[in-house]
Symmetry: D2
Subunit: 88 residues, 4 copies
Amino acid sequence: MTNSGGVAAEQLRAFIERIERLEEEKKAISDDIKDVYAEAKGNGYNIKVMKLVVRMRKQDSNERQEIDTLLDLYLHTLGMAPSEEQAS
Amino acid sequence: MTNSGGVAAEQLRAFIERIERLEEEKKAISDDIKDVYAEAKGNGYNIKVMKLVVRMRKQDSNERQEIDTLLDLYLHTLGMAPSEEQAS
Amino acid sequence: MTNSGGVAAEQLRAFIERIERLEEEKKAISDDIKDVYAEAKGNGYNIKVMKLVVRMRKQDSNERQEIDTLLDLYLHTLGMAPSEEQAS
Amino acid sequence: MTNSGGVAAEQLRAFIERIERLEEEKKAISDDIKDVYAEAKGNGYNIKVMKLVVRMRKQDSNERQEIDTLLDLYLHTLGMAPSEEQAS
DNA sequence: CTGGCTAAACAGAACC
DNA sequence: GGTTCTGTTTAGCCAG
């Protein structure tokens, strides 16, 4: 292995190990989150709906409105708008 | 809002906020990882291949062995066991 | 290889190959779906919203109502019900 | 609804229905696959391991080689090249 | 240098 | 309940 290669190997190895360390931390936090959901479930809450709530709170209201607008348009185009709902 | 509802609200809110706090931490770490990749890229490394290396090291580091035992049985049955490999 | 093993090998191989054939067909259809979305996109439609529409049409309305009921309850508990929305 | 809207409605509906048709076909094939696994299970095979075999055969069958070239460079740089493997 | 496209990571759903 | 698999999201790459 050449000198410059040796330096590169050391440097690259350092990058890889930093990344692996961070990924471990990240996984630990993911596990913590799972634990909180499990605890909530133990207190009678529905995990699926809690996740929905978290997502809604996270979602940027501007983007949300954008999507809703388009969705309304498409549903209306298809005759599926809520106001057009009817007994079949 | 009733008493019991008030208690539930407080508890549910606490769960939600704990989760949101953890997700922020998780995102911070994800950003750190991105930074490391970016720094490595600035030093001339290829991000895609670095990720491949990280993945391979993770795969190598665990399990794999326990499934191989069961798997060998099936591969052998199929005539695909390593010892039966041959030039076609 | 024993007789019974030989029979098993033939049989297992047949199962595996039937599955692989079916998975190829399945993949071909997935690709077709992607093509349709791409074509729609080329005509100015928003893929993400189209997928939403498809999902909504598929979704069983009973299940949907169930989720909505729980969701309303949770949002109300958190003071996030639509009717309680306000400028912060 | 305007003329252009009418045209759009017809077009959008056609796209949606093509997608829904394809998804039905896709689902039918998924069901067929499940049936094959069930039949195999009825003949004494282990579904989980069969799925593993299918996955491995898929992995083996393609690409892999083209990334190895680039990968070798990095592994070598890390002192992880196969020929350099050794007891730690 | 921005925007679209492709491919990997993550989250949600389904199955065992 | 745990694990695998699908589908969504996001990040990196490339063309304009």
